[in-house]
C-alpha cells in the first residue's frame, strides 16, 4: 500500500516539478562542478526558449565565484531575467559593486558592462558611483567599456546621465590617449545625440576633429567606422578644410573590411559637395572607383549592400565607373538579389561604346532559369534601346530573336518593352509588327496583351487585318482585365478614326458592350466619352485621340534630387539599401509626423494596387509582429480582433483616397515608384505603421 502511494503522486510530479526541480537541486549542490554544469544547463534551456526564471535565486547564489567563466554565465542569466525579478536583483548589487573594484581589469569591465544591461530602476542608483570610477580607470579596457555604459544609462534614464555629468565626461573622453576609448566615446555620444531632444550633445569642433583624425588610423576597424560616421555628420567650414579631411580619409579605401571602405566613401561623397577645386574632385572620382569595384569581390550580402550604394553614387556622379561595365556582368551562380542589382547598374552604365557587349550579355541572361531575372533582363534590353538612340535597331533585333525562342514569358516581356521602343521612336520599326501579331494568341498576361493592343491601335492603318485582330477580343471583352479593356476601347476608336469605312461595325459593338455590360465605371466612362466625341465631332475626336504623345525616357530608376542627397548622407545604412529615407521604415512612424503618415498611405496604396491579396496577408503578419513587440502599447491594439478590423480600415482608406484623388498626394511626395521586389517587405512595414494609427 505504501508503495502505491509513493509511486502514484510521483507520476504526476515529474511533469509538474520537471527539469527545473532537478536543476534547482544541482544549483544548490555542494560540489562546484555540479553547480557549474547546472548553470550551463540553465543557459541552454534559456537559449531554447524555456522559461527558467523560476531558478533566479538559485542561480544568483552562484554569482560570487573565482571562476570567471561561471561568473559570466550567471551574469548572462541575470541580464535575461532581471526584469522578471526586480526585487531579487538587489541581492546581486553587492557583488557587482565589489567586482568593479577588483584588481583584474577584465572583471572590472565585465561588472560595469553587465550592470548597464540590467534595466531595473533600483539598480541604477547603485550604478552611478562605480561608473564614475570606471570612466576614470587607469586601464583603457575598462574605460572603453564604461564609455558604452554611459549610453546604456542614458537610454534608461537621460536625466540621471546628464545630471551626474557622465555625458560631459564622455565628451572629454573623445580626447583620450587610447584610440579604442576615443572610438567608443564617439559611438556612445552619437547614440546619445540621436536620442536627445536638443541634438547638441555631440558637436565636433576643430580640436576634437584633430583627435578623431589621429584615432582614425590607430583604432580597430569598427572604431574606424564610428569615427568615419561622425566625420560624415561634420560640415567642414570651407573647401580647404574639406580637402584636408578627405586626404586623411582616403587611405581607408585600402582597408580589408568592406564596411570601413563604404563608410570612407560616404565621407568623401558628402565632402565633395563642399570641395571647389576641380582637380581635387576629379582625383577623388578616380580614386573612388577601384575600391568600389573591389567590393564586388566580397561576400554576396556585402556585395548587395555595395551594389545598392553604387546605384546611388552613379546617380550622383555618373562618370565614376565609366569603363567598368564588365565587372558588373552576372556570374551564373550569383544569388538572385545580386544579379538584379547588377542589371540595374549595367543599364546605368550603358553607352554607345559598350552597348554591343551589353546586349549579347543580356541575351545570354534571357535564357537562364530564374523567371524574374529573365524578365528583368528583357526589360533591360528595352531600356537600352530607349536610352541609346544608335542602339535601338540592334536592341529590336535581339528582342526579335528572343520572341522566336517562343518561351512564353520571354515573348510577353519582349512585347511590353517593344511598346516602349515604339513610344520613343514612332514610325521607325513598323516592319516587325506582323511578327508581333503572330504571337497574339500566346499572350495571357494583361500588361503584355494591353501592350500589343496599343501597338495595333497605334499602327492600325498599316496593319491590314487590324480589324480582325481586334474583333477577336469582342466576345471575351467582359472577361478581360481592366487594363486590357481600357486599351481595347482606345485602340478600337483609333482604328475607326484611321479606317472609318470598314470598321464602323466593330467600334459600335465594342462601345455598346463597354457602356452597357461593363461593371467598371472607368471603362464605362471612357467608352461614353469616346462615343459622344465620335457622334458630335469626329474631327475633334481625331485631334484628341490621335494627338502626339510626350517623349518617354528611361524612367523609374532615378531618384529626385533632394531624396538622392538625403540617401547619400545615409550611404552604407539600411536607408541606402532600400533607397528610402530612414523615417519611412522606422518605428517612430507610429507617432510620427504628418509626412510619414502620408508617405505610408501612398505606399499602402501602391502595395495594394500591385497585389491586393498578398498585401492584406502581410498586413496581418505585421500587426501580429508589432503586437508582440510593444508590451507597453495601448490595450486596444492588443486585442486579437484588431488585426482583422484594421485590414478593413486600410481598405477604407484606400477607397477614400480613390474618392479624393490619390494622385494629388502622390505629386506632393518625392518618393519614387517601387523599383525592386526586395522593397516590398518594407513597403508592407509602412502599411503596418499606418494601420496602427487606426
Amino acid at each position: 500500500m505504501n508503495d502505491f502511494r509513493v509511486t502514484k503522486p510521483k507520476f504526476f510530479a515529474t511533469t509538474k516539478k520537471g527539469e527545473n526541480y532537478e536543476l534547482r537541486a544541482d544549483l544548490n549542490s555542494e560540489y562546484r562542478d555540479r553547480r557549474k554544469d547546472a548553470i550551463k544547463k540553465v543557459i541552454a534551456n534559456m537559449t531554447v526558449g524555456k522559461d527558467v526564471s523560476g531558478l533566479f535565486p538559485d542561480v544568483l547564489k552562484n554569482m560570487q565565484t573565482e571562476d570567471l567563466e561561471q561568473k559570466k554565465l550567471v551574469y548572462l542569466y541575470l541580464m535575461n531575467y532581471a526584469k522578471t525579478q526586480p526585487e531579487l536583483v538587489i541581492l546581486a548589487v553587492n557583488t557587482f559593486v565589489k567586482d568593479t573594484d577588483d584588481i583584474n581589469p577584465l572583471i572590472r569591465a565585465l561588472a560595469i558592462r553587465t550592470m548597464g544591461c540590467i534595466r531595473v530602476e533600483k539598480i541604477i542608483d547603485y550604478l552611478c558611483e562605480p561608473l564614475r570610477k570606471c570612466l576614470k580607470d587607469d586601464n583603457p579596457y575598462v574605460r572603453k567599456t564604461a564609455a558604452i555604459c554611459v549610453a546604456k544609462l542614458y537610454d534608461l534614464n537621460p536625466e540621471l546621465a546628464t545630471e551626474n555629468g557622465f555625458v560631459a565626461v564622455l565628451q572629454e573622453m573623445v580626447s583620450d590617449s587610447n584610440p579604442m576609448v576615443v572610438a567608443n566615446a564617439v559611438t556612445a555620444l552619437a547614440e546619445i545625440n540621436e536620442a536627445s531632444i536638443t541634438k547638441d550633445i555631440f558637436v565636433i569642433n576643430t580640436s576634437t576633429l584633430t583627435k578623431l583624425l589621429v584615432a582614425l588610423n590607430e583604432c580597430t576597424e569598427w572604431g574606424r567606422i564610428a569615427i568615419l560616421t561622425a566625420l560624415a555628420d561634420y560640415r567642414p567650414s570651407d573647401s580647404k578644410e574639406a580637402e584636408h579631411i578627405v586626404e586623411r580619409v582616403i587611405p581607408q579605401f585600402q582597408h580589408v573590411n568592406g564596411s570601413v571602405v563604404l563608410s570612407a566613401i560616404k565621407v568623401v561623397m558628402i565632402y565633395m559637395r563642399t570641395i571647389k577645386t576641380d582637380e581635387m574632385l576629379s582625383q577623388l572620382v578616380r580614386k573612388m572607383a577601384p575600391p568600389l569595384v573591389t567590393l564586388l569581390a566580397s561576400a554576396p550580402e556585402v556585395q548587395y549592400v555595395a551594389l545598392r550604394n553604387i546605384n546611388l553614387i552613379l546617380q550622383k556622379r555618373s562618370d565614376i565607373l565609366q569603363n567598368e561595365i564588365r565587372v558588373f556582368f552576372c556570374k551564373y551562380n550569383d544569388p538572385p538579389y545580386v544579379k538584379l542589382e547588377k542589371l540595374e547598374i549595367m543599364i546605368k552604365l550603358a553607352n554607345d561604346r559598350n552597348v554591343d557587349q551589353l546586349l549579347s550579355e543580356l541575351k545570354e541572361y534571357a535564357s537562364e532559369v530564374d523567371v524574374d531575372f529573365v524578365r528583368k533582363s528583357v526589360r533591360a534590353i528595352g531600356q537600352c534601346a530607349v536610352k541609346i538612340d544608335e542602339a535601338a535597331e540592334r536592341c529590336i533585333n535581339v528582342l526579335l530573336d528572343l520572341i522566336n525562342t517562343k518561351v512564353n514569358y520571354v515573348v510577353q516581356e519582349a512585347i511590353i518593352v517593344i511598346k516602349d521602343i515604339f513610344r520613343k521612336y514612332p514610325n521607325n520599326y513598323e516592319g516587325i509588327i506582323p511578327t508581333l501579331c503572330q504571337n497574339l494568341e500566346v499572350l495571357d498576361e494583361p500588361e503584355a496583351k494591353a501592350s500589343l493592343i496599343w501597338i495595333i491601335g497605334e499602327y492600325a492603318e498599316r496593319i491590314e487585318n487590324a480589324d480582325e485582330l481586334l474583333a477577336t477580343f469582342l466576345d471575351t471583352f467582359r472577361d478581360e482585365n481592366s487594363q486590357v479593356q481600357l486599351q481595347l476601347v482606345t485602340a478600337t476608336v483609333k482604328l475607326f478614326l484611321k479606317k472609318p469605312q470598314t470598321t464602323q461595325n466593330i467600334v459600335w459593338r465594342l462601345l455598346q458592350i463597354a457602356t452597357s455590360e461593363c461593371d467598371n465605371p472607368d471603362i464605362r466612362d471612357r467608352a461614353y466619352v469616346y462615343w459622344r466625341l465620335l457622334s458630335t465631332d469626329p474631327q475633334a475626336a481625331k485631334a484628341v485621340v490621335l494627338s502626339g504623345r510626350p517623349v518617354i525616357s528611361v524612367q523609374g530608376n532615378t531618384l529626385s534630387g533632394p531624396l538622392l542627397e538625403e540617401l547619400i548622407n545615409n550611404i552604407s545604412t539600411l536607408a541606402s539599401v532600400y533607397h528610402k529615407p530612414p523615417e519611412t521604415f522606422l518605428g517612430r512612424g507610429r507617432f510620427g509626423a504628418d509626412a510619414v503618415q502620408r508617405r505610408a498611405i501612398e505606399e499602402q496604396e501602391e502595395a495594394s494596387r500591385e497585389s491586393p491579396i498578398q498585401a492584406q496577408v502581410k498586413t496581418n503578419i505585421e500587426n501580429l509582429l508589432d503586437l508582440d513587440f510593444n508590451d507597453n502599447s495601448t490595450p486596444t491594439s492588443n486585442t486579437p480582433p484588431s488585426s482583422s478590423k484594421s485590414t478593413d480600415a486600410t481598405a477604407n482608406v484606400d477607397d477614400l483616397l480613390d474618392l479624393f484623388g490619390g494622385s494629388n498626394i502622390n505629386n506632393d511626395l518625392s518618393t519614387p515608384p517601387q523599383s525592386s521586389s526586395s522593397n516590398n517587405h518594407q513597403n508592407n512595414g509602412l502599411t503596418n505603421d499606418l494601420v496602427s494609427l487606426f
Partner: protein, 429 residues
C-alpha cells in the same frame, strides 16, 4: 545598433540567442523562422517587418542572424556576421551546428566580448584568444599572461601583437595565392578575366619587428625609375587595380608613397588582397563544341589546353560540363583522367590529377535524351573549371623583397611560394 543576435540550425531551432537591447523580445526569433527559414522564396538577405530588420548570412548548416530596430549600417552588420563565422572557425576548426552546440558557453562568452550594447568591439582572433580561452586553446598557450597587460594591449595601437615574443630561429613564410576568374563567351572571346590575389604570411619573428614588403608593382617601380632618372623600362611590372591590407599595415604610408610597412601579428595572417585585370595569363584554354542533334542527342567535344610553361604541372583539375536535365544515358571517351556523368549535378565531371604545361586533352562524348512532353529550351549553364598551379601567378606578380628591422638586429629567413587556383572559371558554350 544590433539589438539581438541569433544562430539557428537548418530546421530553424535557435542554437544561440543573445539580446543586446531591450527594444525587442526573444520571440522575434520565431518571426525570423517563419518568415525566412520556412519560406522557400527568400529574395533578399535583409528583411524589414514593421520596424524590425533581420540581416542573415548562411554558413554551413547555420543561419547567422542580426536583428536591428534602427537605420543600421548594413555593410557593417554583414561584415560583422562574417567576422563571427571566422572567429568561430579559428576557435573550433569549423563553424557548424555541431561546433556551436558543443561550445555554446564559449560562444556566449565571445558574443559578450565582441559586441557591447550592439556595437562591435575588438574582434581580432589573436587578441581574443589571449583572454577568452577554452581547454584546447588554453593548452596551446602555456603562459597565462597578466590580464592588465592583456587589456592594455587589446585596446592599444598594435592590438594584434604581444610584445614579448621570442623565437630561436626567426622565419617568415609568404604565400601568394591567386584566384583567376574568367567568363568566356560562346564565341570564345573573353568577357571578363581578372585575378584576385591574396598574400598570406606566417611570421615567426621575435620582438617587435618592422617589416617592409615589396612587389613588382608597376606604379611603385615607375616612380622609382623616374626618381633615379633612369630610363630603363621594366616589362615585368604588374599593374595592381586595387588592394586592401591587414590592419597592421600603415595605410597612410601606402597612400603617400606606396610602400607597404607593418608590424606583423604573430603567426598566420592575411597581409593583403589585391585585384588585377591587365594582362591576365589564363592558365587554361577550353574549346567546347556542343551540338544538339534533334531532340534526342547532344554531342560533346571539349578540348582543354594548358597555357603555362611545360616545366610546371597543374593539380586537381576538374572540368564540369553541364548536360540537359532530361539526359538518360551518356557515353564519354577521354584519353587522360577520369570522366563520369553525375546525374545529381546534371553534368559530366572530368577529373585529371596532373596536367602538364602546354599539353592538350580532349573529351568526346554523347548524351542521349529521354523524350519530354513539354519542350523547354535547355538553358546551357556554363562549363566550369577547378585547378591549382604551383609556382605560377596569373597576374605575373612577384615578391621583390621582405625586409625585417628589429632592435636586436637578428637575421631572419624568408620563404616565398606562389599558387594560382581557379576562382569562378566559366566558359559558355
Amino acid at each position: 545598433m544590433i539589438s539581438a543576435f541569433f544562430i539557428y540550425n537548418q530546421k530553424g531551432e535557435v542554437l544561440i540567442s543573445r539580446l543586446y537591447r531591450q527594444d525587442l523580445k526573444r520571440s522575434v526569433a520565431d518571426i525570423f523562422r517563419i518568415q525566412v527559414i520556412s519560406n522557400t522564396d527568400v529574395r533578399s538577405p535583409i528583411i524589414t517587418l514593421g520596424s524590425t530588420s533581420f540581416f542573415h548570412v548562411r554558413h554551413d548548416n547555420l543561419y547567422i542572424v542580426a536583428v536591428t530596430k534602427c537605420n543600421a549600417n548594413a555593410a557593417l552588420v554583414f561584415e560583422f556576421c562574417y567576422r563571427l563565422v571566422n572567429i568561430g572557425k579559428a576557435y573550433f576548426g569549423k563553424f557548424d551546428e555541431e561546433a556551436v552546440k558543443n561550445n555554446f558557453v564559449l560562444i556566449y562568452e565571445l558574443l559578450d566580448e565582441v559586441l557591447d550594447f550592439g556595437y562591435p568591439q575588438n574582434s581580432e582572433t589573436e587578441t581574443l584568444k589571449m583572454y577568452i580561452t577554452t581547454e584546447s586553446v588554453k593548452s596551446q598557450r602555456a603562459v597565462k599572461e597578466d590580464s592588465s597587460k592583456i587589456t592594455i594591449q587589446a585596446t592599444g595601437a598594435t592590438s594584434w601583437r604581444r610584445s614579448d615574443i621570442k623565437y630561436r630561429k626567426n622565419e617568415a613564410f609568404i604565400d601568394v595565392i591567386e584566384s583567376v576568374n574568367l567568363l568566356m563567351s560562346t564565341k570564345g572571346t573573353t568577357l571578363r578575366a581578372d585575378v584576385s590575389g591574396q598574400i598570406m604570411m606566417r611570421a615567426y619573428l621575435s620582438g617587435t619587428p618592422e617589416c617592409k614588403f615589396g612587389l613588382n608593382d608597376k606604379l611603385l617601380l615607375e616612380k622609382d625609375t623616374s626618381h633615379r632618372g633612369l630610363s630603363q623600362k621594366r616589362t615585368n611590372a604588374v599593374e595592381i587595380d586595387d588592394c586592401q591590407f591587414h590592419q597592421c599595415v600603415k595605410l597612410g604610408k601606402f597612400d603617400s608613397d606606396r610602400t607597404i610597412s607593418f608590424v606583423p601579428p604573430d603567426g598566420e595572417f592575411e597581409l593583403m588582397r589585391y585585384r588585377t585585370t591587365e594582362n591576365v595569363n589564363l592558365p587554361f584554354r577550353v574549346h567546347p563544341v556542343v551540338n544538339e542533334i534533334g531532340k534526342s542527342r547532344v554531342e560533346y567535344r571539349v578540348t582543354v589546353k594548358a597555357n603555362f610553361s611545360p616545366k610546371l604541372i597543374a593539380n586537381n583539375v576538374v572540368i564540369r560540363i553541364p548536360t540537359p536535365l532530361n539526359t538518360a544515358n551518356i557515353n564519354i571517351h577521354v584519353d587522360a583522367g577520369k570522366a563520369r556523368y553525375v546525374p545529381a549535378e546534371n553534368s559530366i565531371v572530368w577529373k585529371l590529377s596532373r596536367f602538364q604545361g602546354q599539353s592538350e586533352e580532349t573529351l568526346s562524348g554523347e548524351a542521349e535524351l529521354s523524350s519530354m512532353t513539354v519542350k523547354k529550351a535547355w538553358s546551357r549553364p556554363p562549363i566550369s573549371m577547378d585547378f591549382q598551379v604551383l609556382m605560377f601567378t596569373s597576374s605575373g606578380l612577384m615578391v621583390r623583397f621582405l625586409k625585417v628591422f628589429e632592435k636586436s638586429n637578428y637575421t631572419s629567413v624568408k620563404w616565398v611560394r606562389y599558387m594560382t587556383k581557379a576562382g569562378s572559371y566559366q566558359i559558355r558554350f
